[in-house]
Amino acid sequence: MDMDLEIEPTLQSVILHETLKWLFVGGKGGVGKTTTSSSIAVQLALAYPNDQFLLISTDPAHNLSDAFCQKFGKDARKVEGLSNLSCMEIDPEAAMTDLQTQAQQYNNDPNDPLKSMMNDMTGSIPGIDEALSFMEVLKHIKNQKAGENSNAISYRTIIFDTAPTGHTLRFLQLPATLEKLLSKFKDLSGKLGPMLNMLGGGGAQKQDIFEKLNEIQKSVSEVNEQFTNPDLTTFVCVCISEFLSLYETERMIQELMSYNMDVNSIVVNQLLFAEADDCKRCHSRWKMQKKYLDQMAELYEDYHLVKMPLLGSEIRGVENLKKFSKYLLQPYDPKVDNGLVFDLEETT
């Protein structure tokens, strides 16, 4: 009975989740985000061999290719050695420039006052760039489905390896902002429109831009609805047991909670578990890590706190990821599993 109440220190609840569609992995740079997201993806793929999974990196410094020792691009490609997992790397900047060039296409009169206004406006809505990059991602997924219509792949879960830049998910608050802005702008153009027309702006082009913005708003609210549903989406935070990393994690969790996003797991990476080691520095460093671990246990008592060891080398390649990711499901025990630390296969 007691076991039921205790929150197990693993990602079982995430990986064995029945309905999960979107899984975000986030944290500051250098804490092992990519390794963790790859590990989760590998475990998901192993747990459900009959379903397809997709791992997407939106980090401009793409490193999925390095984690799997295999080149990936912006189209989904299957991982060698794990046939039900695909990866893709997407440049989030592309979408923004896309929209702006599109706006320029509609409107190539250099004297139109509305043109520069539109550019400024689309550029200054908080969160719109993130929203657009997610739209870009979703567009890619859709395109893929449409392109291979004969054997359309439907992914059971899509895992996002998010970029470490601050407010990855700031766009979750976007629909409300956008709605307000659009109605204001419509008002304004209703009043100024005739005047602008007189000055030589085309009415039809403006209509197009409005439609575009409306479209964006609609799809953003759709995405938003899915992302704030804890049955469909969850967020896994990755951190290391150090002050600044914990601080950033706390802020991220607060922010995600303010967006009504479900967060219930934290992966603490790079732990030394140095009790049995001879190394003096490792001992004292482990002591420090334990201090922060204790504090975390107090702060996040209703979270799944997954403790992962620091290994002797970089975790690269599917086989190594399989070995490492095992401990996402089954707590790492330094006495029993110590062999893992130097057990990785050489990859080049």
């Binding site: 914990l246 601080y247 706390e250 607060q254 504090q295 975390m296 107090e298 702060l299």
Partner: protein, 202 residues
């Protein structure tokens, strides 16, 4: 020579103009502020929940901030973070409360503004219209040149009478002189320009 008439109108206008002059010399913003301060003191004494709560929460916020600053974030991370959480929560609450209070402030300001208008502007216009034909003073007709008699009869009284407009003009100029003199006594003297100091500072 002068025959005093309708003394009630005379005093009414006098009182209203005195009130108006007092308000302008105090300054409307100052008056609004004073009224708001008074209102907030009275309201919190009377136990209006928003004021009491806001004051309490602000104090709590200060307390938490003090506590947070007194401990080391790295040594007592959990405690520090918990303080951070409650600080964030409290400041959000304070913000909503402060918003409510400022809406109330707007209402109070509106009421005070309305009262000022009702007490000063409205009676003047009422009198201007209502007593437009009332003769306040009499003097023998033909005593002054015709143009001046016409002027004194403004707005619409008969020749040989003094109307409201002239009375208001007179009262206003006397009051502004009094205010000027009074302020001259009250205001601090302007310092003599010190040539050496001003060149030094430049």
């Amino acid at each position: 020579m002068l025959d005093l008439n309708s003394s009630s109108v005379l005093t009414l206008i006098l009182v209203v103009l005195i009130a108006k002059t007092v308000i302008t010399s105090i300054g409307k913003p100052t008056l609004l502020n004073k009224c708001w301060n008074l209102y907030s003191v009275v309201a919190s004494r009377a136990g209006k929940p928003q004021f009491v709560e806001l004051a309490k929460k602000r104090q709590e916020l200060v307390q938490i901030n003090k506590e947070r600053k007194s401990i080391s974030a790295q040594d007592q991370y959990a405690k520090w973070t918990k303080l951070n959480r409650s600080f964030d929560k409290l400041s959000a609450e304070v913000k909503t409360l402060a918003d409510q209070v400022s809406t109330e402030k707007a209402t109070v300001n509106k009421v005070v503004n309305g009262a000022v208008t009702l007490l000063t502007v409205a009676p003047i216009w009422f009198c201007r219209v209502w007593y437009r034909k009332t003769v306040l003073f009499h003097f023998p007709s033909g005593y002054f040149p015709g143009v001046m008699e016409w002027f004194l009869a403004l707005p619409f009284t008969v020749k040989g009478g003094v109307g409201l407009t002239v009375w208001m003009f007179a009262v206003n100029s006397v009051l502004s002189s009094i205010v000027f003199l009074a302020l001259y006594l009250v205001e601090p003297a302007v310092q003599k320009p010190d040539k050496a100091a001003s060149t030094k500072s430049q």
